[in-house]
């Protein structure tokens, strides 16, 4: 009497794993070398990905919080025209209307205008910002970039803070007089005199070479716009909340002639930088994955060719081609899991360590600051990135394992058994 085979695939999982593990242990040096190559690759992938995520976070944070904010509300069409004619005439009402929307950490008002900055001996084009000195410090990082002097002092209506590059071009320093001129609604040119109280150095060219910051109330009087502002700038609780928050703001302000723009709507370049850096990193990751998987493929092919007779024997014993195929794939998976897990532990550990203490790349600080990056990078280990890497490695390894598995499953038992 013969037994009838039943439940073959699942019941055989344990034997696949046992055979896979023991076959790997049969050649410990080869297994260790392959797993080490895989581990180093996964460690590099994990660390590079964490670096990439850290960079991205820095670029986004620095761009959004240096000046722009997460979201800006303008009068409809202002972002394109930049004309004071398109202004928010009752900003208090707008702020009250949106104050109960969740996701807003803080908000402030600004007047933004292009004009001419003049000193006794020179003049230069400038972006002039009228800001609320106290509220601005809660929203942006401008005040933290003071390199000389002080941030706009409370009650000093004639104070001005400007970028150190612009100050150099104008040949002025702390305490010097600065004259600002700009077009006002109606077409006239108005000017106002300020005293330089502070210089900022952010590393961002637009800010350092072009910006002048003055108190909001003085700017409003000088430009003759009453209580009106050009921007209501919002800092969200997090980057993840920016898009849903912008949607809620649009809903709340519908029909009021307002435009609601996210940070990357205002300057798509920053997002493009982030996307480019992201794409570049993934190209590197792809190359590393290909190299590592070539190693896995090589090992599994060697192993398969050494065991042709064994596969012929298994076939003779009644193992179907599909089962031989599964067995080799499982062996590959075990190898990848060993290398992948050890690599992830190393890469993840390094990412957490440097995430805490940072990687100092200040030698390249100028290039980094241009791209809104800090000279000290803090890798950021994100679950979705890690899952993507491990998933890609596992998927790739299975693909690499398919070739030897397919070859093993296609062996003719009689000729395989003749192999030495």
């Amino acid at each position: 009497m013969s037994f009838v085979p039943s439940g073959l695939p699942m019941d055989n999982l344990s034997i696949y794993l046992k055979l896979g593990w023991r076959n790997l242990c049969l050649h410990p040096l080869r297994t260790i070398l392959t797993a080490a190559a895989l581990g180093i690759g996964i460690a590099a992938l994990t660390f590079l990905s964490a670096m990439d995520d850290g960079w991205m976070q820095q670029i986004k944070t620095n761009f959004a919080l240096t000046m722009t904010g997460h979201i800006q509300i303008h009068a409809e069409g202002f972002e394109d025209s930049r004309k004071l004619a398109q202004r928010i005439t009752d900003p208090q009402a707008v702020m009250k209307a949106i104050s109960n929307i969740s996701g807003i950490q803080t908000m402030t008002r600004r007047v933004r205008v292009s004009g001419l900055a003049s000193s006794a001996g020179a003049n230069a084009g400038a972006f002039i910002y009228g800001v609320e000195p106290e509220a601005e410090q809660r929203l942006s990082r401008l005040a933290t970039f003071i390199s000389k002097g002080v941030w706009l002092p409370a009650g000093d209506q004639r104070a001005a803070v400007l970028g150190d590059g612009l100050a150099d071009r104008l040949g002025i320093g702390i305490g010097d007089k600065l004259v600002l001129m700009a077009s006002v609604p109606g077409g006239d040119i108005a000017s106002e005199v300020f005293r330089v109280r502070g210089l900022i150095h952010s590393g961002v060219m637009d800010v350092d070479d072009m910006s002048v910051i003055v108190p909001l109330t003085t700017a409003q009087q000088w430009l003759g716009i009453g209580q009106a502002v050009t921007d209501i700038v919002i800092r969200a609780d997090s980057f993840e909340r920016v898009t849903p928050l912008a949607g809620n703001l649009k809903t709340a302000l519908v029909g009021q002639g307002m435009e609601v723009l996210r940070w990357f709507d205002i300057d798509p370049m920053a997002q493009q930088w982030a996307d480019f850096a992201d794409a570049y990193t993934w190209v590197v990751l792809l190359i590393v994955i290909i190299v590592v998987l070539a190693e896995v493929l090589n090992t599994m092919l060697m192993s398969m060719h050494e065991r042709v007779r064994e596969f012929g024997l298994m076939s003779a014993l009644g193992v179907t081609p599909a089962q031989v195929f599964s067995m080799v794939v499982w062996e590959t998976v075990i190898l990848v899991l060993i290398g992948g897990f050890s690599g992830f532990m190393i890469g993840g550990g390094l990412s957490l360590w440097y995430g805490e203490y940072g990687i100092d790349l200040s030698q390249f600080a100028i290039a980094f600051s241009f791209m809104y990056m800090d000279p000290v990078i803090h890798p950021l280990l994100q679950a979705d990135s890690v899952l993507r890497i491990l998933g890609a490695a596992l998927f790739g390894a299975i693909i690499a394992g398919l070739i030897p598995a397919w070859k093993a499953s296609r062996l003719e038992p009689a000729s395989a058994l003749r192999e030495l």
Binding site: F3, P5, L8, L26, P321
Partner: protein, 229 residues
Amino acid sequence: MSDVLISASGLTRYYESGELKVAALDGVDLLIERGAYVVLAGRSGSGKTTLLNMLGGLDRPDSGSLVIAGQNLLTMSSAGRARFRLCHLGFVFQAYNLIRVLSARENVAYVLQLQGVKKKQRFQLADQWLARVGLQGFENRRPDQMSGGQQQRVAVARALATEPDLVLADEPTANLDSHTGESLMDLMRKLNEERCTTFVIASHDPAVIASARTLITMQDGKIAPVETL
């Protein structure tokens, strides 16, 4: 149920060597009854192993027909032939061919696992068969920790553990000393008598040939008249 286990007709198999076409099997007709103990004798290259491979579904003839246990092997897919081997056949090879990373018990239990036998039962059966072939106490040894004779006994236990209709043995004593070889043949003959399992053994070992109940002599891919002893 017919007493005929194997029915082969006109089995032909050619091998190509350069431009030369050599008939390894040349129109072999064969009828073997259940419970038979058959020895295929003949010189090297006479076609014994080729015929054994055909009977085991390990190779396909260029022409002819082959029915074993009522099933036509030549119309089956690779997977179908593998399942047929699992359910109906057992193999003993000249080079033992145990799985080197598995212990004696695991080697025997492996085919039972393929049949879906539960863990506890398959290990019990494996231990019983190892004891039956005189290897009690060797259950946890791996092939490289056993002698050739011991490994071949494990192979016999593995071949018989699934209670197949037919056991095919290819030069089972070729790598064994004469005493161990005789002992193995005694065991196989005893199992044949006790369990009525059909054995077809290819060998040119005189001791094996002497143990045959049915002797088939092969020459140049053909069968000489069958001789029942």
